[in-house]
């Protein structure tokens, strides 16, 4: 490259910002990973649910004056509950019809939601701006955006909570059993259909919370869902399917690589680098991805 001297400071700055951003990405990706690992569902509407979270964060602020970060639990509950009837009415009846029918149904849902957003919110680019959006905190000589630090911490906290849910609760046991072997789980009395409904709701709730954080960190449009979805898939593939801890680590790895890539080639290549990484991992070790299923 034509760079005269390698600027260590700039690299450290980009890497640490990328790390924080990747942690924020990971929250939405966690929902995608759970749904894929447990339900074997490539959920193409996941990006639109993430965008829904961003719009809800915006509405919480503009309509109720509620800080989006304080509205996070509310967004999680509302979107999670709204996902239950969608699963019941639209996805559950397709059980036994193969993976493609469910995949294409989520495709149809994504088309519907994306166009409803344009109808309701116009195609304008939005961003959730708060007083803390522009503040930076200096750590070890690095200037880190405060909103990134908060988003990272919240995402990490939620990931730990989901990990505890998976490993310590009855729901987690049933979920892991259903993911490992749905037939055997059914035989020993696990209501697999119910586990799937709960997983879908959990996935949607996590996506929406991730969307609030992304809305605070970035600007978004009604069609941002596809980009969020692809980033999510990249993280899932890098971090290992269905692995809670792996998803968070995969997210931070992707974030660091994207930011370093943006530093080297220009900011426009951020998304491109994520997709190339995704395709490389997918093409080089496709079998390694299908092996791991247990959500631990």
């Amino acid at each position: 490259m034509g760079i005269a001297a390698i600027d260590v400071g700039a690299i450290a700055q980009a890497a640490s910002t990328g790390l924080l951003l990747g942690g924020i990405y990971a929250l939405s990706a966690l929902g995608l990973s759970l749904v894929l690992g447990v339900m074997r569902l490539v959920n193409l509407v996941h990006g639109e649910v993430t965008v829904l979270g961003a719009y809800l964060g915006l509405l919480a602020l503009s309509t109720f004056g509620l800080d989006p970060l304080l509205a996070l639990p509310l967004v999680f509950v509302v979107v999670g509950l709204a996902a239950l009837p969608v699963h019941r009415l639209v996805l559950a009846p397709l059980a036994g019809r193969g993976e493609e029918a469910a995949l294409l149904t989520t495709f149809a849902l994504a088309v519907i939601m994306q166009n409803l957003y344009i109808q309701w919110f116009t195609g304008d680019t939005r961003a959730i701006t708060r007083p803390y959006s522009r503040s930076t905190i200096e750590v070890l000589g690095l200037r880190l955006p405060g909103v990134y630090l908060m988003g990272f911490a919240i995402s990490l906290g939620c990931t730990i909570a989901v990990y505890a849910l998976m490993t310590r609760s009855g729901f987690g046991r049933r979920l892991r059993a259903g993911a490992e072997d749905p037939m055997a789980a059914g035989v020993v009395g696990v209501d697999v259909g119910r586990v799937h409904a709960q997983t879908f709701a959990l996935g949607a709730g996590l996506a929406a919370m991730g969307g609030v954080l992304l809305g605070l960190a970035f600007s978004f449009t009604p069609t941002s869902g596809t980009a969020f979805l692809l980033v999510g898939f990249a993280i899932v593939v890098v971090g290992g399917l269905g692995s809670v801890a792996g998803t968070f680590i995969g997210g931070t790895m992707l974030g660091v690589l994207q930011s370093l890539g943006a530093l080297m080639f220009g900011d426009g290549y951020r998304g491109f680098i994520g997709l190339v990484l995704f395709l490389l991992v997918l093409a080089l070790r496709p079998n390694g991805l299908f092996g791991r299923t247990a959500a631990t």
Binding site: V90, E99, E100, L230, G271, F272, L275, L279, A283
Partner: protein, 329 residues
């Protein structure tokens, strides 16, 4: 991962394979082509525009149907092939190549692209192929937006002498009829059995001696080159070629909507779907979002209640009616 079961189990196109000879089918196609060829002399400009859109989507959905319906490769990467065709036309226009040459070249370049990415893409099975193709097409779009090579997001203007609109209509008519003829002919060849075997169970097909990679590649390349040709004609129509339009996800979304609503794995399905989608679009002019949301809702209902699409449901109805007729007389 076990390979996923096919979306369409009963394939009407292969089911009534013995009923009508190939010659008769091609004759019907030729008759339809002749009628549609005369349209510019009969209808007004607006109707011709609508006709162009219908034929464009019918050709694209037919190409996608060969891949998804007959071979079981559900691709979300169609925009890549359309975009490659569009840019091939733009680049050759800059070099003052004849239009017919540029259109053929667009098909060839798109097929070559399919061949180049196939070793990586075909390692992905089932659902992973679907996300892989989506990622590939989006990566290509982002690269085209950022790279200077093809003038980035600003795009390229076509400077050659623009063809009249009725000529564009004829070009897209030839593409749509040609795509359907390709599918009709393939369905009569042993290749169709290999494609269907790959769709129904890749592993079993391989055990039976089907060269799976080669069968998939033929479907991927033929389908891709048809999409590339449509992209080239579209470049002649828009005159300005930009990455977000040529490689836009809208292509992929429309193709999937039309092919599935019309009926996967049927020859007439893509045409029925294209007519349905474009007429709905034209009746909701000025409300493109509502049109797309309704089309998405129709797709939801079709997947749930009529998995072989409107075309398949109509064929079913016809067969049932014929059975009732026979038992009565």
């Amino acid at each position: 991962m076990t390979s996923s079961p096919p979306l369409v189990l009963d394939d009407p196109a292969t089911a009534d394979r013995r009923r009508s000879p190939l010659g008769r089918e091609l004759a019907i196609l030729a008759a339809v082509a002749a009628c549609l060829f005369l349209m510019p002399y009969v209808v007004d400009d607006y109707a011709l525009q609508v006709g162009y859109l219908i034929l464009q989507l019918a050709a694209l959905a037919t190409a996608w149907n060969l891949l998804a319906g007959y071979t079981g490769l559900v691709s979300l990467g169609s925009a890549a092939f359309v975009g490659i065709g569009t840019y091939t036309m733009a680049m050759l226009d800059e070099r003052a190549a004849p239009v017919w040459f540029a259109i053929i070249a667009a098909g060839v370049v798109a097929a070559v692209f399919a061949a180049v990415v196939s070793p990586a893409m075909f390692r992905l099975r089932g659902l992973y192929f679907t996300i892989g193709t989506l990622a590939l097409a989006e990566a290509l779009r982002m690269w085209m937006v950022n790279a200077r090579t093809f003038n980035g997001a600003a795009g390229i203007y076509l400077t050659g002498r623009p063809p009249a609109f009725y000529q564009l209509y004829w070009l897209v008519l030839v593409a749509a009829i040609g795509a359907t003829a390709v599918v009709v002919v393939i369905l009569r060849r042993p290749l169709a059995l290999r494609l269907n075997a790959v769709r129904d169970d890749e592993d079993v097909a391989a055990e039976m001696g089907v060269r799976v990679f080669r069968a998939k590649l033929v479907a991927f390349a033929v389908s891709g080159s048809l999409m590339g040709i449509i992209g080239a004609v579209q470049a002649l129509n828009t005159r300005v070629v930009v990455p977000n339009g040529a490689f836009g996800l809208t292509w992929t979304v429309n193709i999937v909507l039309v092919a599935l609503i019309g009926g996967l794995g049927t020859r007439t399905g893509p045409w029925i779907g294209a007519v349905f989608a474009i007429l709905l679009q034209e009746s909701l002019r000025g409300y493109p979002e509502i049109h797309l949301a309704i089309t998405g809702a129709v797709l939801l209902l079709v997947i749930r209640f009529a998995p072989s699409g409107i075309g398949g449901a109509m064929a079913d109805g016809r067969r049932r009616l014929a059975r009732v007729w026979r038992t009565r007389s």
